[in-house]
């Protein structure tokens, strides 16, 4: 009796969480995959929708607007992640020293990530405002003409990139600073005794040692960059034209404005597959580095023993 209860306990502990996740997470994802083969609008029950097979996917391939927004998404994600990596890691390398106020800086730096994306979009939309916005006011005070921050395609794209950099560079800064501070002191000491200069130290010791963390950070950030939606929604709502319409935004508009749920589901599926690859790449990479670390440790033990 007691043994039986014991064997059941883990399931009792796990059951509520598993049930919620099955109902509200796994089921919807399965549902979405099914819906992507339907011609379905929001006023229909899913049973009434027509089965159209792969037509949604075929339409996606020939849909110029979709191709444009796919391209915008890739451009946005790659651009923000590379700029943020350079800035974040650069700042971490610069500021990795005994400075008073570092704790304060780290606290201040998390704020942009903690407040609602809606609020971030709101503030930036205000600052980019053509007449009352901060940036144009400053430009005018300096005697320069106003810039079309959100009203010209290229400018708008640059503007959303800048806002994202403001919001997320701190993430990379904090992670790479943590990585830097956990590097083995001995390697650095040895290099310095051998007469390495600051740059050599960074290039040949610090960066290679940080690389595993940096790659994981970049991948995490890349995954998140594909999910950005609210900030852009508030700032430009995808416009002008399609210049800032990232995929997540396109999905939400297809569902709510164009009312084509099946088509939106097919898009969601493609985005999901893309992210799945990134995630698996990240997982495989961490497993690989762990395995290598274990092998090195084992080899060392053999040597010592």
């Amino acid at each position: 009796m007691l043994a039986n209860a014991n064997r059941l306990t883990p399931y009792l502990f796990l059951a509520p969480a598993a049930a919620v996740m099955a109902i509200a997470l796994l089921y919807p994802i399965g549902y979405m995959i099914y819906a992507s083969f339907l011609d379905w609008n929001p006023s229909q029950r899913i049973g009434e929708a027509d089965w159209v097979g792969l037509r949604n996917y075929a339409n996606l391939l020939s849909d110029a607007a979709f191709r444009e927004s796919f391209w915008v998404t890739i451009k946005f994600a790659v651009l923000v992640v590379s700029i943020e990596m350079v800035l974040g890691v650069g700042l971490a390398l610069l500021l990795d020293r005994e400075l008073r106020g570092m704790t304060l800086l780290r606290t201040v730096f998390i704020l942009p990530m903690m407040i609602a994306p809606i609020v971030v979009g709101l503030v930036w939309r205000y600052m980019y405002h053509p007449t009352v916005g901060t940036f144009n006011k400053v430009l005018n005070d300096l005697g320069l003409p106003s810039a079309p921050w959100l009203s010209d395609g290229n400018w708008a794209f640059a503007s959303i990139v800048i806002a994202d950099i403001w919001q997320w560079t701190p993430f990379i800064f904090i992670l790479s600073l943590a990585a830097l501070q956990s590097l083995p002191r001995s390697a650095m000491e040895a290099a310095r005794i051998d007469g390495a200069t600051g740059w050599q130290l960074i290039w040949h010791i610090k960066l290679p040692l940080m690389l595993p963390v940096l790659i994981v950070t970049a991948l995490l950030r890349l995954i998140d960059a594909f999910k950005v939606l609210e900030v852009i929604l508030v700032m430009t709502n995808g416009g002008p034209g399609l210049s800032t319409e990232i995929l997540a935004l396109r999905i939400s508009r297809t569902a709510s404005e164009f009312r084509e749920l099946g088509y939106a589901a097919a898009m969601s599926n493609l985005l999901l597959i893309l992210l799945l690859f990134l995630t698996l790449a990240m997982f495989a990479y961490t497993k690989l580095t762990e395995a290598r670390a274990a092998r090195l440790a084992a080899a060392k033990e053999v040597e010592v023993g």
Binding site: M21, M32, L111, L271
Partner: protein
């Protein structure tokens, strides 16, 4: 390292803080201005602060009637109440379900950490935009809980559970098993052991998990927008709605934005260490 850091580093430090804080300070200061001051072409640092915008936003919570409010718009006040209820309830449920599941996974070892960390990662990767279509469809046609607060709570709990389970696991692993064995020896069942022995020991982990969960529920827009009806709208939804109007009332919108930003800012000031731990753990241990 260098005995005395170059003053240039302090200048950089200050500049970075200014850049990070600038937009936030701008929003707060604008929320204290009259629209005349916000839109005036001459930017001034000196202005007489006013709480008019907050009075307008919160008018139906005020015991008195502010004279500058012509017709009290109750949308925001109601949304604030909804947001509070939804975030608090979903945080509480997520934590209870999450810590039980984490405990089971760690102590009874019938599924490896590998599996959970992989699932956590997988779910972390799912964008809310992807959940939009199916959640809307299922909630509306099958569960019939669209437009209710319970419906929004359900999806938030599900979205946050994987992360909470994963972060609590790393705290539960550190609880010495001897303590639990001692409790069991004294005749406590698994549930009592868990609630009276294990839970008090992982309070820091619970705090970190609570902050992350609350923040996501509090800030989320997309799913709330799809699921909520007039009575159950949350603050982010009302902010976006008022932004689409032709004539934007910047003062009031900045005030609502500030109110929405207050809880996350407070958490950051109180628990920045835990937040950073949670963030770094998420990346470094994958």
């Amino acid at each position: 390292m260098n005995a005395r850091p170059n003053p240039a580093f302090y200048a950089l430090l200050v500049a970075l803080m200014f850049m990070a804080l600038g937009p936030i300070v701008l929003m707060v200061s604008n929320s204290l201005k009259l629209n005349v001051d916000i839109t005036s072409p001459t930017a001034t640092l000196l202005f007489t602060p006013t709480i008019q915008n907050y009075e307008t936003a919160l008018c139906h919570w005020l015991p008195y009637e502010p004279e500058h409010v012509r017709r009290c718009d109750r949308t925001f006040g109601r949304a604030l109440g909804n947001s509070l209820i939804i975030s608090l309830v979903s945080t509480a449920i997520t934590l209870i379900l999450g810590c039980m599941a984490a405990y089971a996974l760690v102590r009874f070892r019938f599924m490896g950490r590998q599996v959970t960390s992989l699932t956590t990662l997988m779910v972390r990767m799912v964008p809310p935009a992807v959940l939009l279509v199916p959640v809307f469809g299922i909630w509306t046609f099958q569960f019939g809980i669209d437009g209710t607060i319970a419906g929004i709570v359900l999806i938030y709990v599900a979205m946050n559970l994987p992360f909470v389970i994963w972060i609590l696991q790393s705290f539960i692993v550190q609880v010495p098993i001897q303590l639990e064995e001692a409790a069991r020896m004294d005749g406590a069942g698994p549930f009592r052991t868990f609630f009276l022995v294990v839970l008090p020991l992982i309070k820091p982990g619970l705090a970190a998990a609570a902050i992350f969960t609350f923040r996501i529920a509090w800030n989320e827009f997309l799913l709330a927008n799809a699921l909520a009806d007039r009575g159950s709208r949350t603050v982010p939804v009302t902010i976006v709605n008022s932004l689409t109007e032709y004539d934007i009332d910047w003062g009031v919108i900045m005030a609502t934005g500030t109110l929405l930003a207050v809880p996350p800012i407070l958490f950051t000031l109180v628990a920045s260490r835990q937040i950073i731990t949670g963030m770094t753990a998420g990346a470094v241990k994958g």
